[in-house]
């Protein structure tokens, strides 16, 4: 019995330790991030690896979510005779919530795991230690460009998701179901505010980008330098990133959208 309690205490202290260590890691990342802008080519390569590679899945998911939102939204709205508001419904749902959150979850699953695996394998292959031996700071050379690339890519991916979703909803609503195109766009333009809705969505994607990229890099950097360690690290990245995205989304939504 006391053994179990001691183990619980050890685990709790270990979690606190991880929190502290990761906070220090985050501060280091933010501190070294500007230096990666002195080598734009490194960052560009990373934006290609993170952003361009995620483009297809994000665009495809955006189309799918837009189509489904339009269909389901039409069914419910037709109950109240408010089908003209379909554009408004889809645009608000995507810009405020679904765009940032789904993009972040897909990004964590795709780009996040690839970052973790890459850093983990670099650690397993002793590349990071070799860099330190050559007096090249691996954080500046390897971690900072990936962090900056992630923070740049996420807002762009989120915007692409929302935009593509709105267009897909237009295709379903106007061409397939037959809602009036003018009403579709004018209701949307009336009800979606640039700063409060689109702007807040962009802020959310930036925050999610920082969080998921930081988590992916930290777990990769701290994983065990073995194949099993890398495998465990990638799973952990997805789990921790997704949970923090959902948790951060709740906090941000409460801050941004709760009525005073």
């Amino acid at each position: 019995m006391s053994e179990a309690l001691a183990e619980l205490g050890r685990r709790a202290l270990a979690v606190l330790g991880i929190l502290g260590h990761s906070a220090a890691f985050f501060v280091e990342l933010v501190r070294t991030a500007p230096r990666s802008l002195r080598r734009p080519y490194l960052t560009t390569v990373q934006v290609h690896a993170i952003g361009n590679r995620s483009l297809i899945i994000i665009a495809a998911s955006g189309i799918a979510v837009g189509l489904v939102l339009a269909l389901q939204g039409y069914i419910t709205l037709s109950r109240y005779g408010a089908t003209e508001s379909l554009g408004l419904l889809v645009a608000l749902a995507l810009a405020r919530e679904l765009g940032p959150v789904i993009t972040a979850l897909l990004y964590a699953g795709g780009a996040g795991t690839s970052l973790t695996a890459e850093i983990g394998l670099m650690k397993a292959g002793e590349q990071l230690v070799a860099m330190e031996m050559m007096a090249v700071d691996p954080r500046i050379r390897v971690l900072a460009p990936r962090f900056v690339a992630g923070v740049i890519s996420m807002p762009l991916l989120g915007a692409i998701f929302s935009a593509v979703g709105v267009m897909a909803a237009y295709v379903v609503g106007v061409w397939m179901i037959g809602i009036d195109a003018g009403a579709f766009w004018s209701q949307m333009q009336d009800g979606v505010d640039v700063i409060k809705d689109v702007g807040n969505g962009v802020v959310k994607t930036i925050v999610f980008g920082i969080a998921t990229t930081f988590i992916a890099l930290y777990i990769g950097y701290e994983c065990e330098a073995t194949p099993e360690g890398v495998a465990l690290a990638t799973t952990r990245t997805v789990v921790v990133s997704s949970l923090s995205v959902l948790f951060l989304d709740f906090i941000l939504t409460a801050l941004m959208f709760s009525t005073p």
């Binding site: 361009n52 483009l55 762009l156 709105v166």
Partner: protein, 161 residues
């Protein structure tokens, strides 16, 4: 992949992202009708502001000419005090009246301005003298029931005696 190819692809990706943001801002939101015009404030006191919210439009002849900037309670006259920000391009005579109207039957409320006939115009900071409060549904229902109740004994009284 060569350096040039990577840079071109990344440039395309960034361009696509910016286009998406602009599409959302212009087509899906109200950036196109964002007016950076300067505005001047007008005050109006209402007995009951009803469901009027800050940011509600101020319309005259059905066209938006400004926004509601703030709503507060005047403890001296016990009326609601509404500050309207009107676009500088629109001037209204000093005997303009303000009404709180509802868009559609159960929609959001807005302020409607009916221009008067005076030669002088309202300046920034002036108060609109003639106002009409919002229609409160419960008061209407109460009035209706009261009228119905008043009719019934009158009918009985004028029946066969």
């Amino acid at each position: 992949m060569s350096k040039k190819q990577i840079e071109t692809l990344v440039g395309l990706f960034v361009l696509l992202g910016m286009l998406a943001i602009f599409f959302l801002a212009l087509k899906a939101a109200n950036l196109a009708s964002f007016s950076f015009d300067t505005t001047y404030p007008l005050l109006a006191r209402f007995d009951n502001v009803g469901g009027l919210k800050v940011g509600a439009p101020v319309k005259s002849a059905g066209v938006t000419v400004g926004r509601v900037a703030s709503i507060s309670f005047d403890n001296k006259s016990f009326q609601g005090m509404v500050t309207l920000q009107i676009d500088h391009g629109f001037q209204f005579p000093t005997d303009t009246s303000a009404k709180i109207l509802t868009a559609g039957l159960l929609g959001d409320q807005y302020v409607g301005l009916d221009p008067g006939a005076d030669e002088k115009n309202l300046q920034g900071g002036d108060t609109i003298k003639m106002t009409q409060s919002a229609v409160i549904l419960e008061n209407l229902i109460g009035q209706f029931l009261y009228n119905k109740a008043a009719e019934a004994p009158a009918k009985e009284g004028s029946g066969p005696k």
